[in-house]
């Protein structure tokens, strides 16, 4: 771990080489908004473009996404220049015209001084509810859960996460990690009694032998037992009663 010093908004900051600008900045109290960033996900897709900052290195100044820009010696970062604000505002306005019904995006828009988008709003076949197509759900499913039940489908405006053949996935374990990770609460996961509905499939839940609460899908237990060798009886009780 090579320690280096960089500048953020004029202040000297110590950091570890190749850490992301976003993490270094946040650790040191500089606020940078971001949607598709998740600390557990190694693939920093940098797709939402909300975390843009201005960096100067080797005499070159440009806007970069802070979530995946590695800090190197001599880097100067500015998180709040006119250009950063202006371009971020444009990005957020586009997101608002894409997902006008998302409370997360609405709030972000207000914070960036946007009342209403000046552009047309996605509707009809292009209506994506709250999804900003950031692909975080598919990365969690692949990198953290390890099942790759969903992927990003199509391209351009039509890009959206989905299951193969748009049919219920045979490998999905119903863990809901995708829904938890989603920055805009766009993935529908409904727990009703002993059944969880997600991605068009129903999963039977395991009930805690102490409190009687259904808390984990059976398919997820099967997956954990299979991949970690953990004893099945471990899942008789929910985390609160173990």
């Amino acid at each position: 771990m090579e320690k280096i010093t960089i500048k953020i908004n004029g202040k000297d900051i110590e950091a570890v080489k190749d850490q992301s600008v976003l993490e270094v900045a946040r650790e040191n109290g500089f606020a940078i908004p971001a949607l598709c960033f998740h600390p557990e996900i190694e693939t920093r897709a940098g797709s939402c473009r909300v975390c843009l900052v201005e960096v100067s290195q080797n005499g070159r100044t440009r806007l970069v996404t802070s979530c995946n820009y590695p800090v190197r010696k001599g880097l100067e970062v500015r998180t709040d220049t006119d250009l950063v604000r202006r371009i971020r505002k444009g990005v957020v306005e586009l997101l608002l015209s894409r997902t006008p019904d998302s409370p997360v995006i609405q709030k972000l828009a207000r914070e960036n001084g946007i009342e209403k988008s000046r552009f047309f709003v996605d509707e009809g076949e292009h209506y994506r509810n709250r999804c900003i197509a950031c692909s975080l759900c598919t990365q969690v499913c692949e990198e953290v859960v390890g099942v790759s039940a969903i992927s990003m489908l199509d391209r351009g405006r039509d890009k959206a996460p989905g299951t193969p053949y748009l049919k219920p996935s045979q490998v999905c374990i119903g863990c809901g990690a995708c829904a938890y990770a989603c920055p805009t609460d766009a993935i529908s996961m409904i727990d009703e009694g002993e059944v969880r509905k997600i991605w068009g499939r129903e999963f039977k839940m395991v009930t805690c032998s102490v409190c009687g609460k259904p808390y984990i899908p059976e398919a997820q237990v099967d997956w954990i037992v299979k991949t970690t060798g953990k004893d099945r009886s471990f899942f008789d009780k929910c985390p609160d009663h173990r």
Binding site: G46, R49, V64, N68, I87, V91, S97, R155, K159
Partner: protein, 619 residues
């Protein structure tokens, strides 16, 4: 199969001498162009006719003849093109011309002027490369091979000095090879113009067991077909360049990524790789030097974004072709996250020339900052269109007026579009600009891969901007917000303007969106997408304003804003327009003025395009 593997550099040289000797006796050679446009215009029937005629006469005249199908000979608008290895070239050749050509030109060396080029101004005919302005103003460093080599015959390439640069390179230290490339000033022909030597050196400097050398043949710019023609016409030049590159950077595996829309290029390149492997020029222990290098051909999947380097690499890996942030460059982390050199087809084809002739020789052509030549596909409204090669620094005007022969139907030259969707439109007033990487960027366009689309007064610049933005919206991979959600919005604003719904403030709103894309998009596709819009606003703002304020399309293109009618005085009653009208809404007697039924006219403009008397008016 006989083992044809060449075991050493010396074996290559003696093999070359052998073929050259055997080919000597085969003259004269008839070169029939086998490029796509010529094929579409019937060149295979012409080649067939030659074959038959040669066979039927062969014994009688005792000349051993061989016809060849070559790659593109350039003059696509006048195909099929037939040439003879000397200075004679015939255009628009039909099978019925063949007996006369055999009789006069092949047997007796006579020139048939009537099959040559007819100058539209002077009406003079010429059947010599030097006498035809389209060819006379070119410099064929890269294209020379296309005109003479049968792309399916590796022997043909070897006989003309092929793989000599490879043999030479093996005797030079890899670092010195990179020095030569750096000194030559070779810049990547794929668009950005990045110095090739710098790229190679960075890749070599990375400590890694495995490195890759890639060839970008995913030529996706609409209106560009240089790389297609080079791959189809002289595949071994590309392969030789790649092997030299691999030797220089220390790579043992290479890939050529070729567009799915180019089936012939895929076929030719595959055959070339197989042949080179069979000869021991690819594979293990090349020419007995102990150096290993192989090339795999990957077909693209029909996605423009895969021309972007990081997307191309993902696509080779069998993944969705999405670009990724290149804060760590691909020379360091490219294909499979390993050090990778990616150059495009034309760049690789330049490499053997530099190695054979030296960097100083190479710098004699072109400009200080952009040495060498550039191959362009000249298309659009010029009189002569096709594949052309000129020294860097040639002005736009020279290219359009001398090589291109000016504008068709006597219309006014308005602008050229360069660089495809990432480039921009340069107005006629700047036509004296030299064509090199830096001047074009300064003018708000870019070199791109070399598509040059000539536009005349009947081209609407707002429509052109809308065309490119629609194209890009369709081709956006959808990964990042500015590109995915911004382009459809730009397209909508441009559509509104062209359909008569433009508003004050639309131009400014477009400019705002352009900034969001330029600064905010993830990859080059998105960040350069504004160029077609910004350059047309910059140079043709009044055209935007005419659409918005006066609901008028000055070029007469935007359907909602124009009406077509036939000028009774100019109409000769030839009935051509009535025959081609898809609505069958043009009526009139033969030899009398025709009339368009406005209630059924869909304003497609076919009548105007087919009219030989310029009698169809647009208002």
């Amino acid at each position: 199969m006989v083992n044809r593997k060449l075991q050493s550099v010396a074996a290559l040289e003696s093999y070359r001498a052998k073929i050259a000797e055997s080919q000597k006796n085969e003259y004269p050679v008839i070169y029939v162009c086998g490029g796509t446009p010529c094929l579409a215009k019937g060149s295979s029937a012409v080649a067939e006719a030659f074959k038959k005629e040669i066979e039927s006469q062969g014994l009688a005249c005792k000349i051993e003849l061989r016809h060849k199908v070559t790659g593109c000979q350039g003059f696509c608008s006048k195909g099929p093109v037939v040439s003879f290895g000397n200075d004679i070239v015939y255009l628009e050749v039909k099978p019925e011309h063949v007996p006369e050509i055999i009789e006069k030109t092949v047997k007796n060396g006579q020139v048939i002027e009537s099959l040559g080029y007819k100058d539209p101004q002077t009406k003079k005919r010429s059947a010599s490369f030097q006498g035809i302005p389209f060819y006379a103003h070119q410099k064929g460093m890269i294209l020379k091979g296309l005109r003479e080599i049968d792309p399916f015959e590796i022997d043909d390439y070897i006989a003309r000095g092929g793989y000599a640069s490879l043999a030479k390179a093996f005797s030079i230290d890899p670092d010195k090879i990179i020095d030569m490339i750096t000194e030559s000033g070779l810049r990547g022909r794929g668009g950005g113009g990045f110095p090739a030597g710098t790229k190679w050196r960075s890749c070599r400097a990375i400590d890694s067991e495995v490195r890759y050398v890639l060839c970008n043949g995913d030529e996706g710019d609409p209106g560009a077909f240089m790389d297609r023609s080079i791959m189809e016409g002289n595949p071994h030049a590309v392969i030789e360049g790649m092997i030299v590159g691999a030797w220089a950077v220390g790579a043992h595996h290479g890939y050529a990524y070729i567009r799915d829309e180019y089936p012939l290029a895929v076929k030719v390149m595959k055959k070339a790789v197989e042949d080179a492997t069979a000869m021991g020029l690819l594979g293990k222990n090349i020419l007995g030097t102990g150096f290993d290098f192989d090339i795999k051909i990957t077909r693209g999947g029909g996605a423009f974004v895969c021309g972007e380097s990081s997307a191309l690499m993902r696509s080779i890996e069998g993944k969705v072709g999405e670009p990724r942030a290149k804060y760590i460059r691909s020379v360091e982390k490219g294909l499979y996250d390993l050090p990778t050199v990616l150059n495009n087809v034309e760049t690789w084809a330049n490499v053997p020339l530099i190695i054979n002739n030296g960097p100083q020789w190479y710098r004699e052509t072109g400009t200080e900052g952009s040495p060498g030549t550039k191959v362009f596909s000249l298309a659009g409204k010029a009189v002569n269109t096709g594949l052309v090669e000129v020294p860097m620094g040639t002005t736009i005007r020279e290219l359009v007026e001398k090589v291109g022969g000016g504008i068709r139907s006597g219309r006014m030259f308005k602008a050229v579009q360069t660089g495809g969707p990432s480039g921009g439109c340069i107005p006629e007033s700047l036509a004296d600009l030299p064509i090199d990487f830096d001047s074009l960027s300064k003018a708000g366009s870019m070199m791109g891969s070399g598509g040059i689309i000539v536009m005349d007064e009947a081209t609407c610049m707002v429509d052109v901007a809308k065309y490119f933005i629609s194209f890009l919206a369709e081709e956006s991979c959808g990964k990042c917000t500015p590109c995915r959600d911004g382009l459809p919005r730009m397209k909508q604003i441009l559509t509104d303007i062209t359909e008569g719904r433009g508003k004050e403030g639309d131009i400014e709103l477009l400019e705002e969106l352009c900034d969001v894309l330029s600064y905010g998009a993830l990859c080059g596709l998105g960040s350069s997408a504004p160029n077609p819009v910004l350059s047309t606003i910059k140079y043709f703002r009044e055209e935007y304003e005419a659409h918005i304020r006066d609901r008028r399309c000055p070029a007469g293109v935007c359907r909602n804003l124009v009406t077509f009618h036939i000028d009774a005085d100019a109409c000769t009653g030839c009935t051509l327009c009535a025959k081609q009208c898809p609505q069958a809404c043009i009526t009139g007697e033969r030899k009398k003025a025709h009339v368009i039924d406005q209630s059924r006219c869909i304003k497609c403009g076919v009548c105007r395009d087919v009219c030989k008397f310029d009698a169809v008016r647009v208002e």
